[in-house]
């Protein structure tokens, strides 16, 4: 490793208002899998955009195999051997796998006709090493996310990439899919590719990377050898302070707030029954696709139940749409914040007020001074930062967007809060704040349901856990019985449990 495959030298990037990167230097050797860690806003994405030619640095240079390269645009970056694998895959689902792999530079016959057969043959070659079950001729949209990720990597192989940068590649993979991906990445490294791996999930980074660079506020904190440090040290480096380990305290009362009996949907939920108490945090664990999200959507009125009975405070309620669910005191903090949570162009105040317009406009006209007052109060409560209530919500970090959505339900007087993956895409510091908030809400007497793929999260928060498997409650675990092993044992269908241990990285969040 005399000359690093990839070297960042004094990279700075300034935007009109902010300095996103300051003097960033580190190197990645050929065959190395290098983690890039940091909270949201630390500058990881900006750095990747510079690497992939989307941004040009204000100062500093990028060296590949010791030679300075001008990554002026994405095409130049690609030509220099850089392949980017994005968090949100940039593919065209309607086109075939092969077409996607040759997107932008198709193989042609005589420069006119697309050589479809030849494309498919070469695509199959590239895929063979990674996942031979993928048929290059099928539409990309028919593949699972994990397979689409593999296609993206195969595309990098086709381009003979020397550097592969992966931005949160596992955000929607199951454990076995992650294992497969980890093997593929290791394979890339064996072939001498330098891999830059960005992930929020430390256990993954520890599992597959040798070294990692930690960034905070646009500067490199340190490049570390992962064998030498603990996860805890890494977290405090990322956050810049020690995160206190919280002890779990239950606030659950014996009073039943929500009672669900025999709830079922046409598709994924079959015969779910449980009680939720006042002040309780009920965790729901299960593999991706087990029906967890669907169950929450039924309770939030977002989808219609085909049968079953729901009672709140002993009275039967109908939940045909979210509006009625909200009126009954139920609010959903959805998993996909961008798609189902926020109205991006609208302000924090507007996003907060959306679910309780009736309160703010008792006579048909919005009482803006009251709205402002309540927004200030609720956003202070959830500790919004920066505290700019008129600013469009899209300009806030994921964690603060999440706080605003929580504030929405506080403003609406919601008593039953349903969280679907409450900390997905949220950085470590904000994560702790969200946990704290959930606990406080429970302490105040709210009833909370938390669906999460991250077992440590479930164990941290829940007073009680329901394990969902194949759309039904497979087990109910009390706080005393909670462990990752216990949950995994119930969550994984029996045929799959053999030969596979419960992994730290679970059904990837």
């Amino acid at each position: 490793m005399s000359v690093a495959r990839l070297q960042f030298e004094g990279i700075s990037k300034e935007f009109p208002a902010v300095r996103a990167l300051r003097d960033v230097s580190f190197s990645v050797g050929a065959g190395e899998i290098h983690g890039l860690l940091g909270e949201n806003g630390a500058g990881k994405s900006t750095l990747l955009r510079i690497l992939s030619g989307v941004y040009r640095p204000t100062a500093g240079s990028v060296l590949i195999d010791g030679r300075q390269v001008a990554l002026n645009n994405p095409v130049a970056a690609r030509a220099a051997g850089v392949a980017m694998i994005h968090q949100e895959l940039q593919q065209v689902p309607q086109l075939s796998v092969a077409q996607n792999m040759f997107l932008g530079h198709p193989l042609t016959r005589g420069g006119i006709f697309v050589a479809r057969r030849e494309q498919e043959r070469r695509a199959a070659q590239a895929l063979a090493a990674l996942d031979p079950t993928i048929d290059p001729a099928v539409p990309l949209g028919s593949l699972k996310v994990a397979q689409r990720q593999i296609v993206e990597i195969a595309r990098a192989l086709l381009d003979r990439a020397r550097i592969v940068a992966m931005d949160e590649p596992t955000s929607s993979l199951t454990p076995s899919e992650f294992e497969r991906l980890a093997e593929v990445i290791a394979g890339l490294a064996r072939d001498g590719v330098a891999v830059v791996y960005v992930s929020h999930k430390l256990d993954e980074v520890f599992g597959i990377c040798q070294r990692a660079t930690i960034m905070r506020d646009g500067v490199v904190v340190e490049t570390i050898d992962l064998a030498q440090v603990s996860e805890k040290t890494v977290v405090s480096m990322m956050v810049g302070r020690e995160l206190a380990q919280e002890q779990h305290r239950s606030h659950a009362s014996s009073e039943v707030r929500l009672s669900v009996r025999g709830l079922a949907s046409a598709t994924k939920v079959h015969d779910v029954s449980f009680d939720l108490h006042r002040g309780e945090v009920l965790g729901i664990a299960g593999l991706v696709g087990s029906g967890r999200t669907e169950l929450l959507r039924l309770l939030a009125g977002a989808d219609r139940a085909s049968s079953g009975r729901v009672e709140i405070d002993g009275k039967g309620v109908k939940l045909p749409n979210p509006r009625d669910a909200i009126a009954a005191g139920i609010g959903l903090v959805p998993e996909e914040r961008k798609r189902e949570g926020i109205v991006p162009l609208r302000s924090i105040s507007s996003n907060m007020a959306l679910a309780s317009m009736g309160v703010f406009a008792p006579h048909g006209v919005i009482d803006h001074s009251r709205l402002k007052r309540v927004a200030a109060e609720k956003m202070k409560r959830v500790n919004l930062r920066p505290f700019l209530l008129d600013r469009p919500i899209r300009l806030f970090s994921g964690g603060n967007q999440q706080k605003a959505i929580i504030g929405r339900w506080l403003a609406a007087g919601t008593r039953i809060l349903l969280f679907d993956e409450p900390t997905r895409g949220i950085d470590v510091g904000a994560k702790a704040e969200i946990y704290h908030l959930i606990e406080e809400l429970a302490a105040e007497g709210h009833s909370v349901v938390v669906v999460s793929s991250e077992l440590p999260e479930v164990i941290r928060l829940a007073d009680r856990v329901l394990v969902i498997r194949d759309g039904t409650v497979a087990a109910e675990l009390d706080r005393a019985d909670l462990s990752e092993q216990a949950i995994a044992a119930h969550a994984i269908p029996q045929s799959e449990t053999q030969g596979r241990q419960a992994q730290g990285h679970w059904a990837g969040a």
């Binding site: 009109p16 939030a300 977002a302 749409n321 979210p322 509006r323 669910a325 909200i326 009126a327 959903l332 959805p334 798609r339 189902e340 949570g341 926020i342 109205v343 991006p344 162009l345 609208r346 507007s350 007020a353 959306l354 679910a355 317009m357 009736g358 703010f360 406009a361 048909g364 006209v365 919005i366 803006h368 930062r385 920066p386 505290f387 700019l388 008129d390 929405r408 609406a412």
Partner: protein, 325 residues
């Protein structure tokens, strides 16, 4: 903590901007520049009579564009405004000619506009068809109904009393201008001060999120199309009052002018964004261009060219300045 103090200091300005956004200021500057250019080139352009003329000539488009703005904000489009106006016009006109009392004939015209809008809204919101296709279909359908109803002939000879209603003036301004100004004020209040306005912005901005937040999606969309239909009917009444006749081919290509005014004013065809003030300014910009170029005896081909370039310029400026507002 610094954030909080900064926030307080910036508050009066923020509040002002809240009311009159940067984007609207841009549109206003555009209008001022265009006025200045014509003022320099055309003698008598700034005469009171001509300025009032511009407002009057812009009023019908402004009326339609207000409805269009609400629909566009909701994430839709209403291509059927012209034929809706035509259908409303010929029905009102034939009732008036037949001697039906004015209020009844006018009410019938509005009812037609409302029904046309409701049908669009129901097809979009409940049947789930794409707004562009739905209103493209009703564009032909409503036009055909107007033609079939009249046999293709204009309805002539509207009573003078009816014409007087829409041709009068108040405080020296044509009544049509005042009516549209009042409509604009109402639209502004709707958008800025009512839950319906918030719902429109939310539905157009992110329908899925709005749904989860309990926004009545279907009702909101239908209301937007219904208002667009009503405003098309209002435009029709103003026009037949001015002309004294109703043609079944009236309102041809009105939808394009209305969309142009909304877009110049900052409405995004992606939904979730739009401004009443901007749309009015956009309509006046288009009206000013037409007035000024006509006074300069510019051939209509070039007028069309100028309109096209104005729209493109507005979009380019939008694109360049986006992300700073």
């Amino acid at each position: 903590m610094t954030d909080v103090t900064e926030h307080r200091a910036a508050r009066p300005r923020a509040e002002f901007l809240h009311r009159f956004s940067l984007r609207d200021a841009g549109t206003l500057i555009g209008l001022v520049v265009i006025l200045a250019v014509f003022g320099a080139l055309v003698p008598g352009f700034f005469a009171e009579r001509n300025l009032i003329n511009i407002l009057q000539q812009s009023s019908i488009n402004a009326c339609l564009a207000l409805g269009m703005t609400l629909v566009i904000i909701s994430g839709g489009i209403d291509l059927s405004v012209g034929p809706t106006a035509a259908l409303s016009a010929v029905i009102s006109a034939s009732m008036l000619v037949a001697g039906v009392p004015f209020p009844l004939a006018i009410a019938a015209g509005f009812a037609i506009g409302l029904v046309c809008g409701l049908l669009n809204g129901v097809l979009v919101a409940y049947v789930g068809l794409q707004p562009f296709i739905v209103t493209l279909g009703t564009l032909s359908t409503y036009r055909a109904l107007a033609l079939i109803y009249t046999g293709g002939n204009p309805v002539l000879g509207l009573p003078a009393g009816f014409r007087a209603i829409f041709n009068g003036s108040l405080f020296g301004l044509p009544l049509a201008v005042i009516i549209v100004a009042v409509v604009a004020l109402i639209a502004w209040i709707i958008l800025k001060k009512t839950p319906f306005g918030e719902y429109l912005l939310a539905v157009g901005g992110n329908e899925e999120a709005a749904y989860i937040a309990g926004v009545p999606i279907a009702r909101t969309k239908i209301a937007a199309y219904a208002i667009s239909g009503l405003l098309a009917a209002l435009a029709a009444q103003i026009l037949i009052g001015r002309l004294g006749a109703a043609e079944p081919i009236l309102g041809n290509l009105w939808e394009l002018d209305a969309i142009a005014a909304a877009a110049i004013g900052g409405a995004s065809l992606m939904g979730g964004k739009g401004s009443v003030v901007g749309t009015i300014l956009g309509a006046v910009i288009l009206g000013t261009m037409r007035n000024g170029l006509t006074l300069m005896n510019v051939q209509s081909f070039y007028q069309l060219l100028a309109t096209g370039l104005i729209i493109l310029a507005a979009m380019l400026i939008d694109r360049v300045t986006r992300g700073r507002g």
